[in-house]
């Protein structure tokens, strides 16, 4: 028996072993591989977040970065949170937050919904334009009354960057901006998962 068995194979190792290139999801009892956008369209079950949290994330992401819902901000973030922190591709992995990262998102999304409920008796995803934008203004400024989550402006920064990553940082995203991707090693999926 080894003295310190490593906990479990990393996601990267599993992907290598399976020779697959995309995110792996369990759908209808079988494992499938999809890009975040495909996963969003297919309604893939969540691995780390609850449906309520996913709805809040999608609504916030879309208001920050138009197109991020369709680009798959929810499956992107959720799948990264469900993976080993060592393999995490979210920007949070180098922003000084202690892994695992799911509590950061969970507490931030709950605090946002809590603030929306306190102001309008609705979850954030159900807010109309004006109250939602006013709440995001307060979030960005770090001034949300009764906020009980990670520092609000930092939470805004992190989710905004996740939404930017999945919207602009892919081959499709570059295409939409009219920017040549010009890869040395082409990402085998939309957002760069290695084969």
């Amino acid at each position: 028996m080894p003295a310190h068995p490593r906990a479990h194979p990393t996601r990267r190792a599993l992907l290598k072993a399976g020779g697959v290139g995309l995110l792996t999801f369990t759908l209808g009892g079988s494992v499938v591989t999809l890009s975040p956008a495909e996963a969003q369209a297919a309604g893939v079950p969540l691995g780390a977040l609850t449906q309520e949290e996913a709805d809040t994330l999608a609504a916030l992401g879309e208001r920050l970065v138009p197109g991020s819902r369709e680009a798959g901000v929810v499956p992107f973030v959720d799948s990264q949170l469900a993976a080993s922190p060592a393999d995490c591709m979210l920007m949070i992995q180098y922003l000084g937050v202690d892994p695992p990262f799911t509590p950061f998102y969970r507490e931030g999304l709950a605090a946002l919904d809590g603030a929306a409920e306190a102001r309008h008796k609705l979850p954030f995803a159900k807010l109309k334009d004006a109250p939602a934008e006013a709440l995001i203004d307060a979030l960005a400024e770090g001034k949300v009354e009764g906020w009980a989550g990670p520092p609000p402006s930092f939470f805004y920064f992190v989710v905004r960057n996740d939404a930017c990553d999945v919207t602009y940082g892919t081959v499709k995203g570059f295409e939409a901006l009219g920017v040549p991707y010009a890869a040395h090693i082409m990402p085998p999926s939309e957002w760069g998962e290695p084969s």
């Binding site: 080894p2 970065v65 180098y94 960057n161 930017c164």
Partner: protein, 528 residues
Amino acid sequence: MTALPTEKIDAVVVGSGAAGSHFAARLAQVGKRVAILEAGPAWENKDLVSSMLWARRLKGAVAPVLETGKDTVGYGFNSGHGVGGSSMHQYGVWPRLHTNDFRVKTLYGRSRDWPIGYADLQPYYDRVQEECGIAGNQRMESSQPPGAPYPMPPVPVSAQGRIVGHGFEAVGMKVSPLPLAVTTRAFRGRPPCMWDGWCDAGCPIGALANAQTIHLPQARAAGATLHPETEVVRILTDKSGKRATGVEAITKDGERVKVMADVVVLAAFTVQNPRLLFASATPQHPDGLANSSGMLGRFITTHGAAPIFGLHEKETTPGFGALGGQLLNQEHYDDKNAHAEQGAFGSYQWMIAHAVKPNGLLGIAPSRPDLRGKALSDFMQRATRHIITMTGVVEDEALAENRVTLSSRKDALGVPLATVAHTSSKEPVALWDTAVAEGLKVFKAAGASEAWHTPRAPMHIMGGTVMGKSPGDSVTNSYGQAHDLPNLFIAGAGLFPTSGGVNPTFTLHALAARSTEYLVKNWNSAIG
């Protein structure tokens, strides 16, 4: 996977980054039996996927690093994860330190002195640049110290570089080609760079002088063995406490092993080196190995990055070029009191016209965190064609209280985590403010319709195992040889007594070239 040596070898190297691979190559090439132990995974060229998302896997640590203080050092962003270490995601900006950088205490009464001067290091800078290849134009660098001409012509200047260069000229400042460890022509079997700006994701074609391109192949060709996912947890010493005998490590299968060697080279990055030395305390070294001076972990420094952005009416093709930039300005570098009236002290340089991608921490979208919704979409459409960029590299002050200590928390292998405390003194912050004001003025002079900056951010981590003349106030001598254990060598930017205002990789290579030459010549006295 190559089996770990079971018999005593000549040298065990902890860490496979720039410094460790350099040591391994030089020692193996003179016939020493060398094993390199790397805590992180192996990367192959095909893993270096062109994506700012994938690039993040090259950063961070196997065990988390805790950070405290007002101005944290950004360990996760600045460190490396896996074979090649942080050299895998360096941008290849390789200026030399200047003459005054080595005598800061003597000249200005602040920070510290180095135990050597520029003249001691110059031949090694020259040797390293010939081996690794630097593109630039020495004659155009008005303030660089003397040295051999660069072996390759400068990086091409794009519209972005020309626009910002004109801005500098308009305010009476000169620019020169940025010295880059990137191939501008075929060089020693390496192809020329394609200038597609993906340096942050590693360089799979070998254009940028990373460990996996330069020293790891040399080390392996000379017989050194490389052992990824093998995490060193302790440096072993003999009963006298005066000699290192090897290291204890945990393999990826969880097996606890000992690798015994005549020489131990600690090259596990700035923060992990003191962590391991503290964690290897013995009754003879109750405060940590190589710490009789009490200086272990102290004088951690980090450059304050001053990122400047602007929008220009002309198209700037900002996605292409080298991520490190195209042009250099070191206008005030040689007078660290040039901005004393502003309460500033130290030196800084500008790296001008970076290749910049839409996303990523240094990318276009995060440069305007205030924008969202349609305003962000509109900005992205415009900025991906019209943005101009540069970054100031601002000197830190070496302070004893900025230090690495052990946390009461432990990692999965039972080793206490490192805590890094860093709070800047007033002068480097004032120097950063001065640099930002100058940068915005340059961009306005360049014709930017708007110019802005992002907050002060930590770039590069140095110190923690500083070299010095006296065993009483430093951890190693000028060769990185521990004062307390002559067969323990420390390598990397952790040796730097002060940060200077230039990128550290060239200097850590020059130190490694000097240290390995010394070690090979003095092998018998070192091993005792």
